[in-house]
Amino acid sequence: MTQLHISSSPHIHTKKTTTSIMLDVIIALLPATIAGFLIFGLKALSVVMMCIAVCVLSEFIFNKIVKKEDTTSDLSAVVTGLLLGLNLPADTPLWQAAVGSIFAIVVVKSIFGGIGCNLVNPAITARVFMLIAFTSLAKPSFPVDSVATATPLVDLSAGKNPDLLELFLGNVGGAIGETSKLALLIGGIYLICRKVISPVMPLSYIGTVFVFTFLVKDFSLTAALYQILSGGLFIGAFFMATDYVTSPATDKGRLIFGIGAGVITVLIRLWGAYPEGVSFAILFMNILNPYVNVWSRRRLFGRDR
């Protein structure tokens, strides 16, 4: 008989792996990607593809240079590229998309030690970096057959009210993957059903934005609805704030994170100078995350504290 294997218990294991989780996130982002293509056309698809390709390539080359094992097969670089692409306007020059992707992977992720070690979300941070570095990002793209000249959020500031249904379906201006709330909701529900993300984060985040807006906007239900259906809140709450590495490990922590991000988002949107409420809010909460994790530790069974 051949040598028997000796190993520490347990001897059975879940089928879930990093790769399977990332694959679920990619599947969940497909509706939003397709919606982005339908709304903004082929150029949207090329921006997304560029981001994915450059992200994967950057990670591959970086690991080669520093002589680390190749990690591209875990698909996390694909997710970063996809998310970054979906967060950019369809008119983003492809070279800028490439620079942003390199920044996301090399500066935000790999230098800190690769997957699991980054302090902030690579896609969000790259988007913020690009916003500051390239003026083109300040000008959002508009649907191919639209006459609109401003995003819903800009319209809102100007006192105009876009159609709620249009907002929900996504036939409005904005980044490629952020406009169709319907598509994002489908993806988000998929992730919750697959137990990849906890519903606490999106619920507390979107809920806080809703309630906070409702309170400061003279109890206007419509104002609150417009606010949650505009901009990058859905993609942020379902796909970016839920990034494992940069968000809390427990539901208690996710509640704190979601409420914090919600408050900051509304503050920036209503009183800030940048149209970047969600990105800045999540980035700020990412930085605060190590503390949130300490504040939200689970109670130990049978230990008095």
């Binding site: 520490s8 218990s9 347990p10 875990d74 427990t250």
Partner: protein
């Protein structure tokens, strides 16, 4: 804290459920260790060449925490040797060559029990240890000063594959009832709960029928969530009581007995036959005929597998116990001991554990832990030799149930780390003590 502690839903794989136990043909020889329990090894009372019968005393309980060992076969003592046990320690073991007759010792008499002291004495003399878990001597649970408020019978059997407890619950429900009623009588127990996972309907029905006349006995049907049978978990789920860290169940007035342990007490009180055989679930992808086997204690795994038709494919891993907490052994020379409830042989495909990759901080391990332990924080504490960090993260609470490692998508050795952390903390505490 909610009604139920966290845990995982595992594949049940109870392939042998509903089958009857098959009594094994007597092996040519058995090797019976003198330490099949927590505490001091028993002291051999036989020497090479002695003739022993089934139920003959072959090793007497040491002073302190220890229980006696009896022969499981009739035959001649072949040798007394040091045996490496599955937990890595060594202890003297007695090898007996069977004469195949299974002649029963004339020393076997039905114990006379008239009070509490005699009952505990009888339980001690039966050689009984906890049959489902770590092998804690059963008599010791009833030798504490504190009054027993709740007696909890553990019929959870939450590990995949294992069905020996359910089988005993269905076949020997009357023995379980007899043991419980005797314990109620002498220990004046007010509340008895039998906790059973809801995937054992047959056992639930039979025990409900058998115990219906006694209002002190309640059947508590629990969800099949691992580790339902963990002692502190079961106590919380059946009584709502929290056993404080570092304390014993008796400190909150509870005693937990495994269902097979309970059935044995009943049987012993009726017959006086000490613990010499064990119902063991033999299963796993490499086993030809998975079944529950009533095996003489000391039967080698080799003989056991021989009895179940050998292997249908080359075994790649052999386990004592279930796949979540079982111990893997290097070869088949190890014997079935008192607390063996299952022997599993996995084939190559079942043995593969995915490669360890970088932690993605998903929090699955933290959220699944029944006790709220933070395994990654323990691992960091271990790496930095930070004792306080390990304690703060809950290392000392870990029961090694394996949920954290099971759910980890990056296959990190979290339970192994927790074990190392507990060891480091023990050594540190020892050093502190010596330093003072």
């Amino acid at each position: 804290m909610g009604r139920f502690l966290k845990g995982v839903r595992l594949p049940h794989r109870k392939n042998t459920a509903g089958s009857v136990a098959v009594k094994m043909t007597v092996p040519e020889s058995v090797i019976i260790p003198t330490k099949m329990h927590i505490g001091a090894p028993a002291i051999p009372t036989v020497k090479k060449g002695d003739y022993v019968k089934v139920g003959s005393l072959i090793a007497d309980a040491d002073n302190g925490l220890s229980v006696s060992v009896y022969s499981s076969v009739s035959g001649t003592v072949d040798e007394i040797t040091e045996l490496l046990m599955s937990d890595g320690t060594t202890a003297p073991a007695i090898r007996i060559k069977s004469d195949g007759q299974q002649t029963v010792s004339e020393d076997i008499t039905v114990p006379v029990v008239g009070d509490k002291v005699e009952l505990v004495k009888a339980i001690k003399e039966s050689g009984l240890v906890g049959l489902g878990g770590a092998g804690f001597p059963t008599y010791a649970k009833f030798s504490m000063d504190r009054k027993i408020d709740d007696l909890i019978i553990n019929g959870a059997e939450c590990e995949p594959y294992i069905t020996s407890d359910s089988l005993i619950m269905t076949e020997f429900a009357n023995d379980i009832l007899y043991a419980i009623e005797t314990l109620i009588k002498y220990f004046d127990i007010e509340n008895v709960v039998i906790g059973i996972e809801n995937n054992k309907q047959a056992a639930i029905e039979i025990l409900k029928n058998v115990t219906s006349s006694n209002e002190k006995i309640n059947i508590n049907v629990l969800p099949s969530i691992y580790p339902q049978g963990g002692e502190k978990v079961l106590i919380y789920h059946t009584t709502g009581k929290v056993v404080p860290e570092g304390k014993l169940p008796i400190d909150v007035g509870c005693v937990v007995l495994n269902s097979s342990t309970t059935a044995f007490i009943g049987k012993y009180l009726k017959t006086g036959m000490p613990l010499v055989e064990k119902t063991v679930t033999v299963d796993g992808g490499a086993v030809k005929e998975p079944k529950n086997v009533i095996a003489p204690i000391g039967t080698t795994l080799h003989d056991l597998f021989e009895f179940t038709g050998g292997f249908k494919s080359e075994p790649a891993k052999v386990l004592y116990g279930g796949p979540m907490m079982g111990i893997s052994v290097p070869d088949l020379s190890f014997p079935v001991i008192k607390n063996t409830n299952a022997i599993l042989a996995f084939n190559e495909a079942e043995t593969v554990i995915p490669k360890t990759t970088a932690c993605i901080r998903c929090g699955a391990c933290i959220n699944v832990c029944p006790f709220g332990i933070d395994p990654p924080a323990i691992a960091r504490g271990l790496k930095n030799e930070d004792m306080d960090a390990m304690i703060e993260a809950g290392a000392t609470l870990c029961m090694e149930c394996g949920c954290c490692s099971y759910v980890c998508p990056t296959s990190r050795p979290l339970v192994a780390n927790n074990r190392l952390a507990k060891q480091a903390l023990r050594e540190h505490a020892k050093k502190e003590k010596e330093g003072k």
